[in-house]
Symmetry: C2
Subunit: 447 residues, 2 copies
C-alpha cells in the first residue's frame, strides 16, 4: 500500500528540485523505482547566475527551466508542485501543506537553504536576499526603481532650477561579501557607472555609491587570502567601497548602521541607503527539524558518509541542507558542484541498495571555484592554481557560456518561439510571480 502511482516498484520521493534533487532524479532514470520530485515552485534555477537576473542582464528563462520539462522524457519520474511542511520518518511519509502525505520507500531531502538574518527577521523586508527567481526579480525591480527615482529627482531639480539632488540619493548597500555579495556589488557598480550613463539624461555615476559590507576581515572568506586581496582591488577599481570587519547592527528601509567587528576599531556609522541587498548567512528550512539527526550550529543535518541519516538509512539529506564533512574534515561549502555530486552519490547508493550491494561513501571532487566581479574582472582557483583578472574572467565566462548555451540552444528567439509553437511546446513556463504561489515561507525548496 506504500506503492501507488506506478504499483510494485519502490518509490523515491525527492524534496527539492535544485542541483542535488534534480541530479538525483535524473540519475535514477534507469533504476527500477518510481521517482516523485516535489518542489514548491515549478522550475529549476541555475543559481550561480541568479545575480545576473537581479542585475537585469539575464531573463528568468535564461537560467530557469520547468521541472516537468526537464523530466519530460523520464518515464519513471513525476513532478509534484506542492509545499512540504514536514516528515514522518517512522511512517515513511512526507507531509504536505494541503494535509496530504506522500509515502516513500526512499526519501531524498534537498530543500536548500534560505538567507539568514541572524534573528532580525524584520530585516528581510528592508534587505531582500537572492535565492529564487522571485527574489531576483524583486531585487531587479528595487535597483532599477532607485535609478528611476534618482532621475526623477534630478529632473525635478532641473525643472525648478535647483541644484542637483544630494549625493546620497543613490546608495546601494550589499551585506555579505561571499561570492553572491561580491558579484552583486560588482554588477551594481557596473550598471551605475556604465549602463545607466547611456540611458539616463541627468543622473551621473558619481551620484551612486555601492557599499559592500563584510563581517570577516576580507572579502570572499572561503577563498584563498591572496584572491580576497585581488578581488577587493578589482571591486575598488569598479568604484565599490569595501568595508571588511564591519557588521550591520541596525536597519531601516533607507539606512543601515555599521559597527566595526574588531575591538581595536571604534567605527560606528549610520549610512543612508536607498537599496539594501542581503547576501549574508544561510539558514536551513525548519522542516528539517522532523528528521532524526544531529545538526551543526547553522542547523544543517549531519549525514553519514553515504549521505543518509544514521537513524534512518533510507533517508538522504543533500546540498545546502546537509552538513557533510569533506576530506579535510571541514564541512563542505554550499556550492552547486557539491550538491550535484551528492545527488549522483545518493542515487548511486539507492541503486546499490536495490541490487543488494553495499553503499559507497561520498567524496567531493573539488574542481576549485571562481567569482566574477565585473567585466574582465574575476578570481579563480583550481587546486594550487590561483589567478585573477582577465584570465579568471575568461575562464568564468567560458564555463557559464557553455552552460547557458547547453541550457537553451537556439538561434533567433522568434524562430525558436515559432518552433515551440508549431511543435506544441511551451517554453519559459516559469511561475516567477513575486506573489509566491504558496504563502508560507517555510519550505525553501525553490533552489
Amino acid at each position: 500500500m506504500e506503492r501507488k502511482l506506478n504499483s510494485q516498484r519502490p518509490r523515491v520521493v525527492i524534496v527539492g528540485g535544485g542541483f542535488a534533487g534534480l541530479k538525483a532524479a535524473r540519475e535514477l532514470s534507469r533504476a527500477p523505482v518510481d521517482v516523485l520530485l516535489v518542489d514548491r515552485t515549478n522550475h529549476h534555477v541555475f543559481q550561480p547566475l541568479l545575480y545576473q537576473v537581479a542585475a537585469a542582464a539575464l531573463s528568468p528563462r535564461d537560467i530557469a527551466r520547468p521541472l516537468r520539462d526537464v523530466l519530460r522524457r523520464q518515464r519513471n519520474a513525476s513532478v509534484l508542485m506542492a509545499e512540504v511542511v514536514g516528515f514522518d520518518v517512522d511512517q515513511q511519509r512526507v507531509l504536505l501543506s494541503d494535509g496530504d502525505a506522500l509515502a516513500y520507500d526512499f526519501l531524498i531531502v534537498a530543500v536548500g537553504a534560505r538567507h539568514s538574518y541572524f534573528g532580525n527577521d524584520n530585516w528581510e523586508s528592508h534587505a531582500p536576499g537572492l535565492k529564487t527567481i522571485a527574489d531576483a526579480l524583486e531585487l531587479r525591480s528595487r535597483i532599477l526603481l532607485e535609478f528611476e527615482r534618482a532621475e526623477r529627482n534630478a529632473t525635478r531639480a532641473a525643472l525648478s532650477d535647483q541644484s542637483g539632488p544630494p549625493e546620497a540619493s543613490l546608495t546601494f548597500v550589499v551585506v555579505g561579501a561571499g561570492p553572491t555579495g561580491v558579484e552583486m556589488a560588482g554588477a551594481i557598480a557596473e550598471i551605475a557607472h556604465r549602463t545607466m550613463r547611456r540611458n539616463f539624461r541627468l543622473i551621473r555615476p558619481e551620484m551612486t555609491r555601492t557599499l559592500l559590507v563584510e563581517a570577516a576581515d576580507r572579502v570572499l572568506p572561503p577563498f584563498p587570502e591572496e584572491l580576497s586581496v585581488k578581488a577587493q582591488r578589482q571591486l575598488e577599481d569598479l568604484g565599490v567601497e569595501v568595508r571588511c570587519s564591519t557588521r550591520v547592527v541596525e536597519m531601516s528601509d533607507n539606512s543601515v548602521r555599521l559597527v566595526a567587528t574588531d575591538a581595536t576599531s571604534t567605527e560606528d556609522e549610520k549610512v543612508a541607503a536607498s537599496c539594501i541587498i542581503w547576501a549574508a548567512g544561510n539558514e536551513v528550512s525548519s522542516i528539517l527539524a522532523d528528521l532524526p539527526a544531529d545538526r551543526d550550529r547553522s542547523g544543517r543535518v549531519t549525514v553519514a558518509p553515504d549521505l543518509s541519516l544514521p537513524a534512518a538509512p533510507n533517508v538522504f539529506v543533500l546540498g545546502d541542507a546537509a552538513a557533510c564533512a569533506g576530506a579535510d574534515g571541514k564541512p563542505l561549502p554550499g556550492l552547486a558542484p557539491v550538491a550535484t555530486q551528492q545527488g549522483s552519490a545518493a542515487a548511486d547508493n539507492i541503486r546499490r541498495d536495490l541490487k543488494g550491494r553495499s553503499r559507497k561513501a561520498f567524496s567531493y571532487w573539488d574542481r576549485g571555484s571562481m567569482a566574477t566581479i565585473g567585466k574582465a574582472r574575476a578570481v579563480a582557483w583550481m587546486g594550487s592554481l590561483r589567478f585573477g583578472g582577465l584570465l579568471a574572467w575568461l575562464a568564468w565566462s567560458l564555463i557559464h557560456i557553455l552552460f547557458l548555451i547547453g541550457f537553451r540552444t537556439r538561434v533567433v528567439v522568434m524562430l525558436e518561439w515559432l518552433y515551440l509553437y508549431l511543435f506544441n511546446r511551451r517554453d519559459a513556463r516559469l511561475l516567477h510571480s513575486l506573489r509566491e504561489p504558496h504563502p508560507t515561507p517555510d519550505c525553501d525548496s525553490e533552489t
Copy 2:
C-alpha cells in the same frame, strides 16, 4: 520659465509610452523641441502579443523594451518614469503623483485604456484582464497554477486509489470574444490539449474546459460576419466552448453566472470556473476628466480632425483614450495601427505649428486586421479580401515574426548577453513585478 530642461525650445510632454506616445516622440526627433515622455512603467509593450506572454509562449523581454533604451539616441528626448494624476490645461501643466508639475508647450495624452468591469470593480480580483506585462504574468501564473493544482488532485487520487478528480477541476472562462479574448481562449485550449499532455503525467486534456463568453451574437464583433463564423468554427475545433449572446452577471473566485442576452432565451447557468480571464470592455483613465472636451459613453475624449482638443489646440489626445471618427463617421477601433498613425499625425501637426503652416486632418489608413486562434488557425481581412485558416495564420505569423525579429535581432541569447555585457548595455531591463511600482491604479499609461 515654462522651458527648463533644455532652455529656449518648446517642450512637448507626452504622457504614455504606448504605440501612439512612442511614435509621436520618435517622429519629433528632428523637430526643434524638447520631448519629455512620461510613463508609469519603464517599458513599451507590443500589446498584440501580450496574450502570448500570458500563455507562457513568449517572455516579457520578447515584446517589451525599456523606453530609455528605445529613445537612447534621440538627443532631444528624455524619459520620466512617473505617475500622472491630472492635467492643468490653463497653467499648461501635467500633475504628478509626487506633487510635481511638468510645464508643457504641447501636450500629447496617450494613456491608453484599462479594461472595464462595467461597474463591478470587485470582479477584477476574480478575473484579471490583459493590458500590461504585469497582467500577463499574473494571468500566466494563475493558468499554470491551475494545471499544477489539477495534477496535485490527480496525484492525490492516484495515491489513495480514489477515482480521478471531478470533471470541473479545470475550467477556464474567458469573458469577451474580441481579438484578445479569442486569442487567449485559443491559446489556453492549445496548452490544455497539446503542451500540457507532454509535461503532466495524470491530468488529461478531457479534464479541461475552455469557455469563451461573448455578449454580442458572434465572436469578433468588429470583424466581418463571415470571419466571425470562421473564427467560431476554428475555436470549436480546438475544443473551446463558445457562448455568444451570453453575459456574465455574477462572479466569484471559482464560479461565474451566465445569462442569455437575447430575450428569447432563458439560459441562466452557474459555471464552476477555476480561472476567469477578463477580455471585455475598455474604460479610459480617470485623469482624462481634467481635459476640457466632450466624451463618448465609454469616456473617450472627442478630438478635432487634427487630433487636438477644440478648447485647447496645443493638447492632443491619441490612441485608446481618444474618440476619433473614421472615414465612415464611426469612431476608430482601439488598435495598434490607429494609435501609431495618430502618433505620427500629432507629431506632424506640431511640426507644422512650429513652421507656421496649417495643420492636417488625421485620416486612418486601414490595412485591415487579423486575429489568430491557434496553430494554423486565424482570420484576416484586408479591404474586400477576407480569409481564414492556414493562409490567414501564415499572414499573421509572418507579420509578427518580422516584427519580433526587428524588435530583438539576435543569435544565441548567450552570445547576445555576452555582447551586451562586454559593451555595457543591459537588456530586458523590465520592471515587470506584479507589485506595481506605483500603487495607485489610476494612471494607465503602461500600454
